[in-house]
Symmetry: C2
Subunit: 339 residues, 2 copies
């Protein structure tokens, strides 16, 4: 398997990303990664890798690109002027079939715009959606989408999101009949925004859906473990995701402080630290697992700009899983039958 | 001070609410509460109160009403048929000036609709907004609004929310120059839904605002402690609030489990329980503090349907603070100058 990796655009430069990439090729002997970015910088970072990882660097190829997309670049700017950035080159590589999937930590709006142009949309899909699996009760997970690629989504697009999310849960997680719901402000049918109520009507009227439609869900249902997919406009999805990240960060900090004030020194370290570290990882899904761009004729995973090596490693694993399950093709099949 | 209390509509009947009310009159000798609900039931619960609370029950008056608003009643239904419910009677009592504020745990949509009709809106305000103070870093708090009274809010209404939230932070919390931001999917000016971008233009164009406008905020900023008010449509606000409640519930559970598996019996109880109890309270603001209906010609606080006695006690405290600071009048003054 060969993946294309944009190593630019991270909050702290390419070091952590190259380490994450090195771990992935070390763990998976059949994996080859093409790193897009300035050759000199990548080579320097490759040389700094700790010994156990250095052995596999022959499978970390370099595609030399000096330009990169800045964090404040707009979609409009990258579409006009971004052809020779590491992000666009990485996507071009996927589009040409030289890699089976692409991964980037860069600017989301730019990634969505460039991916749409370079890879094209699946038939019947109008725009990419971003989705990630949020950890829920009972060790379950819930795909939330869209997470910010689309705002002011009309009903028809919400229905597309439902199809995309269900295909993901079905193909990648092996859930036969995913339970899908629309995010709303209440469970009653009279509530909610116009587009959500119209999407509900469309889904109820559909003669045969490749998933179980459960009607409306509220924000709290994301974490209850009773639903596999929750669909919303990118505005609400983004707000919920970022609020959840902020809240879990604050909570972990408070638990830390609270225990530190009751326990001293080693005892606190021994009891609290491993628990808290685990919690942090589990509750920051984008930082740790990456988010998928869905609806494209190709596989693109967005990793968090502030991710560490292990987060980027998991984003690469996510892309590998989607390749193994041939996600876009399966989504296209599903959609052509039921769309 | 005299407040009107609707004791119906709670998830588990009026018992917890009457206990919360009894605690409030016990703690505040100048406080009188009028309880709206079925006399027999309220009298029975009053008799069951523990001794230290029983002494003050002479200041728990009863207004006998047999009907109540059900959890599935729509706004339309209560406006047509709900005149003789405990909720409508409680609001009427506030409207007539027989009480300075009202508190209810009942159906939110019904409360918003009835409050708007019974009390009327302040001049320049089109619809009530719901707001609560979310706990943030450094012991700070951030008012988030709207939390679900309005969906599909146009830009002008978002500006109203900004005025309302700022007045709340200013009057009730004594923050001279509240820092106010609009919730969006990114900090860049090109991002976001049409109504949010228009509201941003309106706020930037305003010649003198009674608060410091900070532009866009993201979901995570709610918990950072750098902003006093974050404004959004009720759809996103409701999703964020309910997701935060769900997430903090799940987190506390996980911390509990994680510690239980490392510590045994008494040690776990001694170390973890008080910390977790405190966290739970702090992170479930609506259950514990109540939410305010803003923009009305009167004070109405909505407490959580599943609240316990202490949560209802805090909702009553919230209403008392708004009475002390004469919130609607201050808001009207502010708005007539700057609106």
């Amino acid at each position: 398997m060969r993946l294309a990796i944009d190593v630019m655009g991270g909050d702290e430069g390419p070091r952590a990303l190259i380490e994450g990439a090195a771990r992935a090729v070390t763990d998976f002997p059949g994996l080859e990664l093409i790193l897009f970015g300035p050759r000199q910088q990548i080579e320097a970072e490759r040389l700094r890798l700790p010994r156990p990882l250095a052995a596999a660097t022959s499978r970390l190829a370099i595609h030399d690109v000096s330009q990169s997309v800045t964090t404040d670049a707009t979609a409009g700017w990258v579409l006009r002027h971004g052809q020779s950035t590491s992000m666009a080159q990485m996507l071009r590589c996927v589009a040409l079939g030289n890699a089976q999937a692409g991964v980037s930590v860069g600017n989301t709006a730019a990634l969505v715009a460039l991916a749409r142009r370079e890879l094209g949309m699946l038939s019947g899909m109008s725009r990419p959606a971003i989705s990630t699996a949020i950890p829920a009760r009972f060790g379950r997970r819930c795909y939330l989408l869209d997470l910010g690629a689309n705002v002011d989504s009309p009903a028809s697009r919400l229905v597309e999101f439902a199809m995309m999310g269900a295909a993901m849960a079905q193909q990648v997680d092996g859930i036969q009949q995913p339970r899908v719901a629309l995010l709303n402000v209440g469970a009653e049918s009279t509530k909610g925004s116009a587009s959500v109520r119209e999407a509900d009507s469309l889904l109820r009227a559909a003669s045969s859906l490749p998933f179980a439609y459960h009607g409306y869900a509220e924000g709290g249902d994301i974490f209850q473990g009773n639903l596999d997919v929750i669909v919303c406009d990118g505005f609400a999805g983004n707000a919920v995701l970022k609020a959840s990240e902020g809240l879990s960060g604050m909570l972990v900090e408070r638990v830390q402080l609270a225990f530190a004030s009751r326990l001293r020194g080693r005892l606190a370290s021994w009891i609290a630290k491993p628990v808290l570290k685990h919690l942090k990882q589990e509750l920051d899904p984008v930082r740790y697992n990456g988010a998928s761009l869905l609806g494209l004729q190709g596989i693109v995973v967005k990793s968090h700009g502030g991710t560490h090596a292990d987060g980027f490693y998991f984003a690469i694993r996510r892309a590998m899983r989607e390749v193994e399950h041939n996600l876009p093709e399966r989504l296209a099949e599903r959609y052509s039958i039921y769309g």
